[in-house]
């Protein structure tokens, strides 16, 4: 299986994503330069974390017009998997691949810390290897992670199981104390309606080695492997 990792000017988690695929999964990964129009036959596209275009104007606003995004949108329309992590989530929202938007953290502080997220839906191709309600410890590192959408969109996301990950506190409850950025409904990650595009603020690619404090990101990548191989 081949993963295409898009590198924008200012991406800084592309290498972590590459290592996650190659070292941890033992699968093939290629970097796709944002100015290219060729996804190199990738089965799965990853929009990695970082600060594309220096976060100018709005996070993800300019990257969404990078030439390669036309192919990424077509890939998503075909029903093929697209993963947006952190800045990649912001870009996917700006590009209209996912509903809603990500705003400045409610605290106005950049948050770089491990957070607890609960798996809300295991019926997706990104979470099948987890148990429903399982709580994962995965790092976040962002200044603009406050997920927001209008009431109707939020209700729709909730009722259709598109809320995949939710921030929880030390008692596994989605309270304000467990919410690192003020996201609506403690939302940490969502899918699109067809379930082939996911966006999440936490970094599963940074939680694959016990040396780094957590291996809870493993199930995320193994789920994708199982889904695409099926």
């Amino acid at each position: 299986m081949k993963f295409g990792i898009v590198t924008f000017p200012g991406s800084n988690c592309d290498y972590d994503a590459f290592r996650a695929v190659v070292d941890t999964l033992g699968e093939e990964a290629v970097y796709v330069w944002h100015k290219d129009h060729d996804l190199q036959d990738a089965d799965v596209v990853i929009l990695p974390g970082g600060f594309s275009y220096g976060d100018y104007l709005r996070v993800g606003a300019i990257a969404r017009f990078s030439p390669v995004m036309r192919e990424v949108a077509a890939h998503a329309r075909r029903g093929a998997p697209v993963i947006g992590i952190c800045n990649g989530f912001q870009i996917a929202c700006e590009a209209g691949l996912l509903p809603g938007a990500l705003l400045r953290n409610a605290s106005l502080q950049f948050v770089s810390a491990p957070v607890r997220i609960r798996v809300e839906n295991t019926g997706t191709r990104f979470t099948s290897e987890y148990d429903r309600g399982q709580v994962l410890t995965i790092p976040v590192a962002h200044g603009d992670g406050r997920y927001t959408a209008d009431e109707a969109t939020l209700a729709d996301l909730e009722s259709s199981g598109q809320v995949v990950f939710r921030y929880v506190d030390t008692r596994d409850n989605p309270t304000e104390a467990g919410n690192p950025n003020g996201s609506s409904n403690n939302i940490a990650g969502i899918t699109n309606g067809d379930g082939n595009v996911i966006g999440l603020m936490p970094h599963p690619e940074r939680a694959l080695d016990s040396l780094l404090g957590s291996v809870d990101g493993l199930g995320f990548f193994q789920s994708i492997l199982a889904a695409v191989a099926a």
Partner: protein, 85 residues
């Protein structure tokens, strides 16, 4: 063609939590500006453009706002323009 200067004010959508505005509001209160009710922090852009008419210049910038300059999910925008002499 006439040269126009078009100004765009982009502000957080009403009803969306604006922590930057709140922080500034709090700072103004602590400075003693007791009359301050609400503060919002947004962005201000100017676009210098040539167009056949003022309406055309504004329509073009409106399209720019809808496609790139503002995000309708979270932001409102207002446009003002004037011919440059």
């Amino acid at each position: 063609m006439t040269a126009y200067k078009v100004s765009v004010h982009i502000t957080p959508r009403r009803g969306i939590l604006d922590p930057q505005g709140k922080a500034v509001e709090g700072a103004l209160h602590s400075l003693g500006f007791a009359g301050v009710k609400e503060v919002h922090v947004g962005r201000y852009l100017t676009v210098d453009t040539d167009a056949q008419s003022q309406a055309e210049a504004e329509a073009a910038v409106k399209a720019m706002c809808e496609r790139l300059l503002a995000n309708p999910v979270i932001e409102d925008f207002e446009i003002e323009s004037a011919a440059v002499r």
